[in-house]
């Protein structure tokens, strides 16, 4: 196991690459979910405001 993590002495380069890929792909996945919540909340707020003004 520790030999695997050691990557023949290239651990820093290999695991930084895989780690960065993981983080970036996670950000790609999470950001549209947050954006969707924000969008729907914004549209709902506008609808409530319109209804009050009527």
């Amino acid at each position: 196991m520790s030999e695997f993590l050691h990557m023949g002495g290239y651990a820093f380069y290999v695991w930084t690459s895989y780690g960065l890929a993981f983080v970036l792909m996670l950000v790609l996945f999470v950001s549209p979910m947050i954006e969707k919540k924000r969008l729907i909340a914004g549209i709902a707020r506008k609808l409530r405001r319109e209804r009050r003004e009527k």
């Binding site: 895989y18 790609l28 549209p32």
Partner: protein, 250 residues
């Protein structure tokens, strides 16, 4: 109207696209996750150590699929741009705009993992050779498209402007691809080839291809998620979006 035309028209309608994309997202995600797990297993545990580069070459299973994606996504954007300019198809515009940040992320990932591979193998993080420079230019094209789209208030005008930029920039794709042949680059020539056969052990080639398919499905999932948001934003005044916002439909 035959079944394909009906499918095309349904996808071209924002409302139906929103529904269909919503159904596809979990499947794309599941396929991508399975392929990722399989590719990582084969790439990190099954594939043998390289006789010249030792274990450092395992960066290839991120680096090459990411670089392929950065070019594949750009090609999709250029095609969407052409469709938008010729047929004024709203959904093509949505695909183009939603793809740009994903393409930028993959171009960035290809550059950084390349750097992390270059340091131990070439002894340098960066050289201004044709392959690296043209890939950096691709990242700037993505950022340019994102910035241009953000700078123009009217969505249709912005869509047309980025369509033109995406089309003009497509000239960079053959330059990236052939850079290792046309110029004397520090970056190696292609190891994987569709036509000429690959110069690679099959235990290394298999995880490379699995990872590249995993990234393709991942892109599909993220593209649909982003495109759905773009549709919600553009159609915010229609009754079906209002219903979703009020929680009557998903």
């Amino acid at each position: 109207m035959n079944i394909f035309m009906r499918f095309y028209h349904r996808l071209a309608s924002p409302r139906h696209f929103y529904q269909i994309a919503g159904q596809w997202i979990p499947w794309l995600g599941a396929i991508s996750l399975i392929l990722l797990a399989w590719g990582l297993y084969e790439g990190l545990l099954v594939a043998p150590t390289d006789y010249q580069q030792g274990e450092s070459y395992r960066i290839i299973f991120i680096h090459v699929p990411a670089a392929w994606m950065s070019m594949f996504i750009y090609l999709i954007m250029a095609i969407a741009g052409a469709i938008n300019l010729v047929w004024r198809m709203k959904m093509a515009e949505v695909v183009l705009v939603s793809s740009a940040p994903i393409g930028a992320v993959f171009a960035f990932l290809a550059l950084v993992t390349g750097s992390l591979w270059g340091k131990p193998m070439w002894g340098t993080w960066w050289v201004w050779d044709a392959r690296l420079t043209s890939e950096l230019f691709l990242l700037f094209l993505y950022l340019g498209i994102i910035a241009l789209h953000g700078a123009i208030e009217d969505k249709r005008t912005a869509g047309r402007a980025v369509s033109i930029l995406a089309l003009v920039g497509v000239i960079n794709l053959p330059i990236i691809h052939f850079s290792v042949e046309w110029w004397n680059t520090l970056h190696q020539g292609s190891t994987v080839s569709v036509m000429g056969g690959s110069k690679m052990d099959s235990r290394m080639l298999r995880p490379l291809l699995i990872m590249s398919f995993a990234f393709k499905f991942y892109y599909g999932m993220i593209l649909f998620m982003r495109a759905r948001n773009e549709v919600l934003d553009r159609e915010r005044n229609t009754s079906w979006v209002r219903q979703i916002a009020e929680g009557k439909a998903s």
